[in-house]
Point group: C2
Chain length 627, copies 2
């Protein structure tokens, strides 16, 4: 039965299917203190006048207006004070002709009075009040019901309650309000390989931490739903049936993700088919092809892909609007912005594409858009992107400079103050900690320089020897001692690169983009020259030369974990990891800014931190400021 | 001692003073499930590789890549399947030359294999797998640490945790995270006149419901703080001291509002002066002149004005940024938008002005900005405005069409889909209930037509005789029966307007902008003609002719409350309020759209509801569709 659903359908068909799902939208009554962000279920008409009495808007004297007619600075009138009313007091004294009653802001205008004179336009001596201005009936009074009149329509159904609406409800004396219920959304992660965060992980057995339960739960909350996370279910038909039944009973909508293994997927199909209806399987969109829409018993069910980026993308695009709608929330605005492609991109697959993109502002605060594509299996692309660009199936190319519309992940998304790409380095990590909203992609020195040339990033961080230079402004630099990290006590007595060539010691390298690798390769070239041989002869002889890890501390961590015997790395990593260090030299780390971005706030903030202070170097061995 | 602080200081001085207040910013650890919206307090470096093993990205066969070299559709290779690995399984079988292991997406690439062939490019018969493509080493494999490498910097301090960051933390197996504490903000409302919503209100004694406790609490939450609301305090020195002491002990910041009565204000000054330090009193900004900044004991203290709109404006402008900062939240973006003034406005007072404004889109989706000024005592202006425009003290005029920058109340604020101004009417209330995000200002028929002419609103609702017509498209109309409402049984035997003139019956009228009033006045004119007398002779003889109430149901509600004997109103109000009705005629209610706005979505949605269906009229007496 899987085959009949293998035809991928167009995204709009899936949107329509999901729009047609019936998610129960009840209402409930909540106290005003819990009402923020909720959606009013019914119209609220005022049951009382606000204010409930004729109120003085100023500190002054309640008068009969006609007693002041003709009064002025040069020709004041004198009236007799016969009483005083404070806010919250009953007005007992009647203002007779020729008299006044002192009144505080908020006080009840007493009988007989029809205006209030501000205290600033009066003087008083004993019981005699000198009034230096004329007032008309109604002056400085807010009459009963002038703010809100009893019977008046005040708030309509569907209104989102913010501080301001809560204020109006308070003024009406309302302490609890009928609001739309938040749909309860059950969340199931399925897969034998999944382990809940915080529990013990057995990587050797192919286990990974469950990401989707938390991301989907947080996203359901963002959309106005109430997430209910169920325990992870393995590839077990009965267990899956039990949890699915429980979730369908307790929730208004059930979402599952995972089931990438064929067996588990088959179970889900089977269960939905036996106990409900499978409406669709598969949507022609990338990422996120696998997707189920149906019902389990009578409860709407949507199956999301297993890869976190795919699951979240499909959720945001297809499911979140439905949850918002069921919760009574209006569609999001201000999440659509227009930017210009920073680079040219080509596409071949004829499917709608929801392309994750990052944003960066150039010197003129134009918004540049660059694709973030690390493959759908990568969780880091979750945080390296700011939104998505939807591409029609027929789009074959986006040109640099072309306008594209970006759907932000939320209206609050800000482009980073600083976008840097380049080498991974412990001092750099500390520098980034002191900046406001930086984004740094540790793709290595070579890639950093390439992207700086392409006009994407604000800065590149380049370590070691670099092939060619780019036009850039050097903001600062430091040097770091690099070499080989070995277990404590250096049991194999490693002294240099030659030992790697001449022994079977298992080595862990850095990738080709890295400045550490460039320095190592320069060392190998020197050794090859010295020996009059070809460098590939030497690299072939190094056991693990092609085995790379991507952060500066990753290779030595493999040594610490007992998975390798020698690692390329920094002296700074030795002490924290309890390893020994064999020095092979020093290399410069340079921060290079694009010339047209040096005046960006983020770039200037970074420059302000250079040259390095002691607190930025403290505790890191082998690092020296070079300025 | 009050006098020395009476000099108003410029807003920037107050900003600086508040910026210098020290609000304790601790950190705390929260589980991932509660982390959404919180701010990371420390950098998070990865403690493990993600994935923790070489993982297959596809369903297929793990192979030694060299075994597939040269394979193609026309010249496939045959290999022997020797095992199968599902996701979450240990990889026990080693792939020897000439063999493959079947592997599921997410499975551990077994020893010996260095690539995976997608199942789509293979065929299998028994144990023989036909491979129709060549793969290179690494193809379809995500190597250990390729997503996140152990030791890698993943999230920096100050990062706001959304679904995406929570996903990355999950992938790292982190179940609880160090986040910035939310500053606790104590909220005190002071004033003898204040009553908490839900409790009994004595309007005669000048009581009003406390608005500030709820609006400020909700606003503190929006800014990232934790509100702590204290009981309302009256004008009592000892009680104020007790609550202020308690709040200062328990909170990181204390806000009070109110104290509009001189006595209470004096107490606050005295308390701050005796037990802390009063740094400033009074800021040169409108609304919101009264404002205190200081410390009570060692706790920062800010005193807000008593009027809700002033209190909220001052809070948003001066206090919210400080709370955001203490909570580690970045300053808001996307709350600033530019619009064009819809009308010309003049100003005289030489003070910085935070002018509340409403927004409306014209037919070309240009954003028009109009001032919402109902006086600082009005709570309805809380919800009728979308944001504020800050005007420099020297601004004397804003011209229609001039660009102004609006600070939205929140990034989510949407201009209404429909802006209507005009008559208050029960059918209209039902129509508005069925629209998405309408805004309707019930300012009366005359004001509605005036503003339609000025190009502010999308529609006007005009009832009764109107003085002159405007260029407009009539979307629809109905008629309503109007007249006089009297107590049940009509004890005074009222039959028409003449009874109001000839008796002392106390009457409640509608305002001059209202269509009901226009019809009544036309009736009085007729009576004056009939009697050959002047209309003012008649109106002077009506007891309460100048006493007006602002919603269609407000005058009859006064009759029901026993505060008046006759009210102008609609037949539709009689039955719900238990009153008798004396008919004086029927009047049309017309919905008129600005000709250039008829294609706005909101206007079209309204037009779709016309002519009136039975469900829109049902239960309302005296209403008839006129189409």
């Amino acid at each position: 039965m899987r085959k009949q659903f293998r035809d991928l359908v167009e995204p709009d068909v899936v949107h329509d299917l999901i729009a047609d799902l019936e998610i129960g939208a009840e209402e409930e009554t909540v106290p005003l203190t819990d009402a923020r962000g909720r959606i009013l279920a019914e119209r609220v008409d005022a049951e009382l006048d606000v204010p409930g009495f004729d109120r003085s808007n100023v500190d002054g004297y309640a008068v009969r207006a006609e007693d002041t007619f003709g009064a002025s600075e040069s020709d004041p009138v004198e009236l007799e004070q016969i009483g005083r009313i404070d806010a919250g007091e009953q007005a007992d004294t009647t203002v007779e002709p020729g008299t006044v009653v002192e009144i505080a802001t908020g006080g009840v205008v007493p009988p007989g009075a029809d205006a209030v004179v501000m205290v600033e336009r009066t003087a008083r001596e004993d019981e005699t009040v000198t009034v230096r201005t004329a007032v008309a009936p109604g002056d400085n009074i807010m009459v009963a019901g002038a703010d809100v009149a009893a019977g008046q329509r005040t708030l309509g159904p569907g209104t989102e309650l913010t501080a301001r609406e809560i204020g109006l409800l308070s003024a009406l004396g309302i302490e609890s309000v009928p609001v739309r219920s938040q749909p309860t959304v059950g969340i199931l992660s399925t897969g034998d390989e999944l382990v809940a965060p915080g529990e013990q992980l057995h990587s050797d057995a192919g286990q990974i931490y469950d990401v989707n339960s938390h991301t989907i739960a947080a996203s359901v909350e963002e959309a106005g739903g109430r997430p209910e996370v169920y325990p992870i279910v393995g590839d077990d038909f009965e267990a899956m049936k039990t949890v699915l039944t429980e979730a369908a009973t307790e929730c208004d909508l059930v979402l599952s993700s995972g089931s990438t293994s064929a067996g588990a997927a088959d179970h889900i199909y089977q269960l939905i088919d036996d106990h409900g209806e499978l409406l669709r399987h598969g949507v022609a969109v990338k990422p996120g092809k696998p997707m189920l829409v149906g019902r389990f018993e009578e409860t709407p069910y949507i199956g999301l892909p297993g890869f976190p980026v795919s699951a979240l993308t499909i959720f945001r695009h297809f499911v979140a609007p439905k949850i918002r709608d069921a919760a009574g929330k209006p569609p999001r605005k201000r999440e659509q912005i227009t930017g210009q492609m920073a680079v040219t991109e080509r596409y071949k697959e004829g499917r709608t594409r929801l392309m994750p993109v990052g944003l960066v502002e150039d010197d003129a605060e134009n918004l540049l858009v660059y694709p973030v594509d690390k493959g759908s299996g990568a969780t880091t692309s979750l945080v390296d992107a700011d939104g998505t660009v939807r591409l029609a199936p027929e789009t074959e190319q986006l040109d640099a400079g072309q306008d594209v519309e970006v759907t932000l992940f939320s209206a609050d998304v800000r482009p980073p103050e600083l976008l840097g790409i380049g080498e991974d380095d412990p001092v750099l990590s500390r520098l980034l900690d002191r900046l406001d909203n930086p984004r740094y992609l540790p793709l290595g020195s070579r890639e950093g320089l390439r992207r700086l040339r392409n006009g994407v990033s604000d800065i590149a961080v380049a370590a070691g020897p670099t092939e060619r230079d780019v036009e850039a402004v050097e903001l600062g630099s430091w040097s770091r001692e690099w070499g080989l990290l070995v277990p404590a006590g250096n049991p194999a007595d490693v002294t240099g690169v030659a030992d790697l060539v001449e022994t079977d010691l298992s080595f862990v390298n850095r990738g080709r983009q890295s400045g550490l690798r460039a320095s190592l390769d320069a060392g190998i070239d020197d050794l090859a020259d010295e020996r009059g041989t070809d460098r590939t002869i030497l690299t072939d002889a190094i056991s693990g030369y092609t085995l790379t890890a991507q952060a500066y501390e990753s290779p030595p961590r493999r040594v610490r974990a007992g998975k390798a015997e020698v690692a390329l790395g920094l002296r700074a990593s030795a002490e924290p990891l309890g390893l020994d260090f064999v020095s092979l030299g020093e290399q410069p780390v340079r921060i290079l800014a694009a010339p047209d971005r040096v005046e960006k706030v983020g770039v200037e903030s970074l420059e302000d931190l250079l040259p390095l202070s002691d607190s930025l170097i403290g505790g890191l061995d082998g690092i020296e400021s070079t300025e």
